[in-house]
Structure formats: C-alpha cells, structure tokens
C-alpha cells in the first residue's frame, strides 16, 4: 500500500505532520511518500492512497481519524468513510483545472529526481538544449506567456531584450519575494516542485546566454528555503546545474539568497539593490534591468510562476500553451483563493473564468455562510470589487477595464461584516510601513492619507476631506516612482467608489 501526505508548510500548519506520523504508526508496512500540496487546502491534512493507478483522497483528516481510514481501505469500504473525497485527479478535472505549471506539485516527492523525471520533469530543458537561444525566445513569445508576478509584461519580449544585449556576464534572477497577501502559489511551487523552478531558470539562462542565477526568497518562507537548498544540491548531483548542464557543455549555477522582511523588495529594481547588499530602494527606469540590472549587467528577472511555466511550454509546445485562455491572456492562471471562502486553495485555470465562478461555484461562497460583499484581487495594491463586478472574466485587460488587476492571482473574499473604511485605511498603513522612502508621494502621501481617512470616519469636514483624499490618491498614482505608491490608492479609491456607505457618506440620512 502506498500513501501520500503533504509536507507543504500550509498543510503542516494544520496538522499534516501529525497525520503522517499517525499513518506511520497505524500502517508501518505501507510506503509513505511526503509530497507537496495539491492546493486543495480545505481538505488538508489530505491523505491519498494509491489504488489501481488512481489516487484516492481522504480529508481533512486529523491524526485521530487515520486508523479508521486504514481500516476502511483494508476492508474495501473506503467510499463509505465520512472523509472520503474520491479520485483526486478526477476532482481537479471536474473543477476545470488545467495543471500545466502545477502538474507535479502534490504528486511527487519534491526533491526526488527520478520521480521528477518520471512525471515529465527536465523534458523541457532537454528540448531547449537542442535549440539556439533565439528559437527558445521565439517559443516563449508564441506561448503568449506574461509575467505572473503581477505586472503582466510579455515574458518573451523581456527575454529578447536580455538576449540582444551584448554585455556579459548576464544573470537570471528569480523573484521569489512573494509578499502580496492572499498569494501563495510561489511558496507552494518552491516547496512542492522546486526542480521545475531550477529547470525554468536553466532554460532561461540557455535562451539569453546567462551563466549565473539567483533566487531571491523572502525570509518568511523557511520551509521553501530548506526545500530549495536540497533541490539545488540534487540538481548539482544529477548535472542539471553546474559546468556541464545535462551533458550539453553549457554552464549555469544558481544561488539561493534570503530577503530580510521588506515587502518592497518584490519590486524588481529594489530586489536587485537588495541582492547587491544595499537598502531595498527602488531605482529609476530606464535603464531596464534587462539592459543594466544586477551589478549593472543584463539581468533577466522573472517571478517564480513565470519561470515555472516555461518547462511545460518547451516540452508540450508553445501553441499548446497558447491554446488556453482568452484574448491577450494566454495559458493558465494560478488563482489563489482565500479569505472568507468555504473551499480556499490553488486553482490553476485557463484565463477567462469569471470571479463569480471561482468564488461561488469552486470556492463555495463565504465560509461564514454570510453574503460575499467585497473581493480583493491581486494583493494589497489591488482594488476591492463589489458583487456586481464578479461577472468579470479573469484576464489582464478584462480586469484592467474594471480598474482592477490580476496581479499575482490572489483572490481574497470578504463577507458582509467587513468595514471598507478600515480596509482602505489599512491599505495606506501598509503602504506607509513598507515604503522604501525614495519618493515623496508614497513616503508622505501614505501617512497623510491615513490622517484624512480618520477625519472622514470621524465626520470632521467629511465632504472636504473626501475630495482631499481623492486628490491625494491622484498625486500618488501619477507621482510615485514605482507601483507601491502608484497602486496603493487603488484599494482606497475602489472602497470609496463601491462602498461609500462605509465612509459615513450616507450616515446622516440613516441616523435620522
């Protein structure tokens, strides 16, 4: 008998380690594989058992319930067990998930090279090593892949710039500073299938002619740090990294670097400053990092999920990847559903599904059973959308039309107990706390905005202060150096526009 239990830190945070230990006790002769997470977090701790080539799940399974599951399996009465979920792959299919990027996550032992290769790992890199750089860059362009870290910039164009810049050495930097609240796809990938990230970085290096790579990982992710360190060792042992990548004669190496708790270092230029050992203060652009990045050299800086999408594009073909999605949003989006929702988790879906489908059909609506009132998409700089906007298809341009964004794919659901004035104030508190301090609109504007919101809520010249707040938001949007100050007003303005009642604007009438 073969069992699978996740060692993903989120699964462990709700008892997966205890469940695995119980399984070891109850079924000592069985094989237990510790995997990453399937992303079905409402079912964690999830136990899977292999039967006739299918993986049957039971969850959420506390350690005290493990024995009853083992007994049921042995008696052939699994499906009658109250925690029985059924075939996990079938469940993912029925949700409409297309696991292109997360195909192996939760399936394999994260740092087992043979398991990785047996499930299609390294195939993309082997294809890439037979091609010249331009052909690889062209494939990435054809796939339509755009930066999954938040900006949505066409990845192939970025790669082309680095490819075309003659100066050497060149660097590949992976932005693993996943600081946006409500997002965890990078963490899940780094803990669940880190070899795919190293494969994606190596393909990128081969494409643009880079010889050295860095992963800049946030320090809040100690489990990802351990797993990545081990994955880098494994990649060296098998020759995917080093002086002779898979026997091709090319050299590429990756070093893991830890951040130190600064949200702003997720912004690419401040990340590069931090990597150079400086304060994480944003740089003026141009020059673009692709031309002058790390230590002034051409640097290809991409998010974890962007890089992890590349192996599948190489292995299965750019056209195959581009066949998913809508309009200018091609391939799959890793929706990270969380907040007040019944079935939170990672849903890798072709672009184009609506928020309503994700939140209500897949997510099961608010966990509290109350009506969903507001949804924040794309992290702390993303707009709060009301119910009426939930029919918006998830696509870059489609969301931008609603003055919102996809960002890194985080969807945070709030029920009707949320105080939107409080959320708006928090957006500015956070902007203040994490501002690098370089430009005035962000550094000072975020402080002034909190004071203005306090006055609005206290009904101190409410009309005048509401105008002032909008004017201040306008200054921050147009005058800030980077997206931190430039987008922090979006949650504030959306709260003002869609939930004005929370700012007391209708209060006098209601009080009478």
């Amino acid at each position: 008998m073969k069992y699978y239990v996740s060692k993903d830190s989120a699964a462990v945070s709700v008892g997966a380690a205890e469940t695995a230990a119980a399984l070891d006790r109850v079924a000592p002769d069985a094989t237990l594989v510790r995997t990453g997470s399937r992303g079905l977090y409402w079912l964690e701790p999830l136990v899977e058992v292999e039967q006739d080539g299918h993986r049957i799940g039971f969850g959420p399974l506390a350690s005290s319930e493990v024995e009853s599951v083992v007994t049921a399996i042995q008696a052939g009465t699994s499906s009658a067990h109250p925690r029985y979920v059924g075939d996990i792959d079938e469940l993912l299919r029925s949700q409409g998930q297309r696991r292109l990027t997360f195909a192996r996550c939760g399936v394999i032992d994260p740092t087992d090279w043979d398991d990785f290769v047996a499930h299609g790992g390294s195939a993309g890199l082997r294809m890439a090593l037979e091609q010249d750089g331009q052909t690889i860059v062209d494939a990435v362009k054809t796939s339509g892949l755009r930066g999954r870290g938040g900006a949505g910039f066409p990845t192939g164009i970025k790669w082309q710039t680095v490819h075309d810049t003659p100066s050497t050495p060149k660097y590949v930097v992976c932005n693993a500073d996943e600081g946006d609240s409500g997002t965890y796809a990078d963490r899940m990938m780094m803990e669940g299938d880190p070899l795919t990230l190293l494969e994606g970085m190596t393909i990128a290096a081969v494409a643009v002619g880079a010889t050295r790579g860095y992963i800049y990982l946030r320090s809040e992710y100690p489990d990802a740090e351990r797993t990545l360190k081990r994955a880098i060792e494994v990649a060296h042992e098998v020759g995917m990294l080093g002086d002779d990548i898979l026997g091709s004669g090319r050299a590429f190496d990756v070093e893991l670097r830890m951040g130190a708790g600064a949200y702003i270092c997720g912004e690419e230029t401040s990340l590069l400053e931090s990597l150079e050992g400086k304060r994480g203060v944003v740089r003026f652009k141009p020059p673009l990092p692709a031309v002058q990045g790390f230590l002034g050299q051409p640097t290809m800086i991409n998010n974890v999920i962007t890089l992890c999408s590349v192996p599948a594009i190489m292995a299965q073909g750019a056209e195959h990847y581009a066949s998913f999605g809508i309009n200018k949003s091609r391939g799959t989006l890793t929706v990270q559903l969380c907040g007040n929702v019944a079935r939170p988790g990672l849903y890798e879906m072709p672009f184009g599904v609506t928020l309503d489908h994700v939140i209500n059909s897949l997510g099961g609506g608010a966990r509290s059973g109350r009506p969903v009132r507001a949804v924040q998409v794309g992290g702390p700089l993303g707009a709060y959308l009301p119910q009426a906007y939930l029919d918006t298809p998830l696509g870059y341009e489609e969301m931008a039309e609603k003055k919102s964004m996809i960002g890194h794919g985080g969807v945070v659901v709030f029920d009707d107990t949320v105080d939107m004035a409080q959320q708006a104030r928090f957006a500015m508190e956070f902007c203040d706390l994490e501002s690098c301090g370089k430009c005035t609109p962000c550094r000072v504007g975020s402080v002034r905005a909190q004071e203005v919101i306090d006055r609005i809520v206290a009904d101190d010249d409410r009309a005048g202060n509401l105008d002032l707040l909008r004017e201040l938001c306008d200054t921050m949007i147009n005058g800030s150096l980077c997206a931190h100050g430039g987008m922090a007003p979006f949650p504030v303005l959306s709260a003002l526009n869609h939930f004005s009642e929370d700012f007391g604007t209708r209060e006098p009438a209601e009080v009478q």
């Binding site: 008892g15 609240s181 945070v412």
Partner: protein, 153 residues
C-alpha cells in the same frame, strides 16, 4: 578591550571571510551574524564596514532598512502574527489583538508580519519558523501563555 569583545570581533570577521567570494555579500553576512549572535550590534556594524570596505553609515542603513535585523538582543522565541488582508477576512485582527495583549508570555517576542503565504489556512502565525494555521484568539493566547512551548491543537 575585553576578551569577550575580541572573540565577538573575531567571529564577525570570520563570518565576513566565509562570504568573501559572494557577489553583494552584505545580506547573507547580516543573516549569519544575527543567527549566531541573536542581533547585529553596533560593534559588529563597525567590523563589517571595515571588512567590506563600506562606511559604517552604509552598513547601518542596510541593517535598519530591513524588518528582520535587530540591533539589540531579542527574545529567545519569536511569534510572527499575520496582519494582512487574507487573515483579516477570517478573524486575523482578533488574533493580533489577543497576541499583542498577552502579558505573561515568557521569553516570546510578538511581531507583526504581513503575509506568511499561508492564506488558505488563515489566520496564521509563525513560531520560530514553524507556521501554524486556522488560529483563533484562544489558541494564540494559549500558545503565548505556554511560553511558546505548547503548540495547541
């Protein structure tokens, strides 16, 4: 100079030497010093500046920019409590106010953090690098009262 401070200086120089071949080595050095000494002292800043041929102001600027680095000795255990949106949506504010008001918490420092990437199992806290999910005010209080030793189920 006392023997202790000579030892401390030697330890800092040794850490700097270990990272000498890295590109942009300051953050890894600061992490290593904090890991061994618990904090980055002013004396250490001076030694690092000397080793890396930087001004003290440059090293000081980096140490104070990042939330992770402490200039003074810190509690033995650190409980990071997430205060960001995904946790707020499911009671994170209550977890924070409970955690930040427990007085008898032994040698556990409570810090605010903005996202632990555990959003689907929120509200979340992290005790000495171990993430704990589906928290509530009662559980975080029990955790602190036990001095960070008893992980509640």
């Amino acid at each position: 100079m006392t023997n202790e401070s000579i030892d401390a200086e030697a330890a800092v120089r040794q850490i700097c030497a270990a990272y000498a071949d890295r590109q942009g080595p300051l953050l890894p050095i600061l992490h290593a010093i904090q890991k061994s000494a618990g904090h980055v002292s002013d004396a250490a800043i001076e030694v690092i500046a000397d080793e890396l041929n930087l001004s003290r102001a440059e090293v000081f600027g980096v140490v104070t920019f990042y939330h992770d680095f402490h200039r003074k000795p810190h509690a033995t255990h650190v409980l990071k409590v997430c205060r960001a949106e995904a946790c707020q949506a499911v009671g994170g504010r209550e977890v924070w106010s409970a955690a930040s008001t427990v007085e008898a918490r032994g040698d556990v420092g409570v810090e605010a953090v903005y996202c632990l990437g555990n959003c689907a199992c929120a509200p979340s806290v992290q005790l000495d690098g171990r993430t704990l999910g589906r928290m509530d005010a009662a559980r975080v209080t029990a955790l602190l009262v036990s001095g960070g030793t008893g992980v509640p189920t």
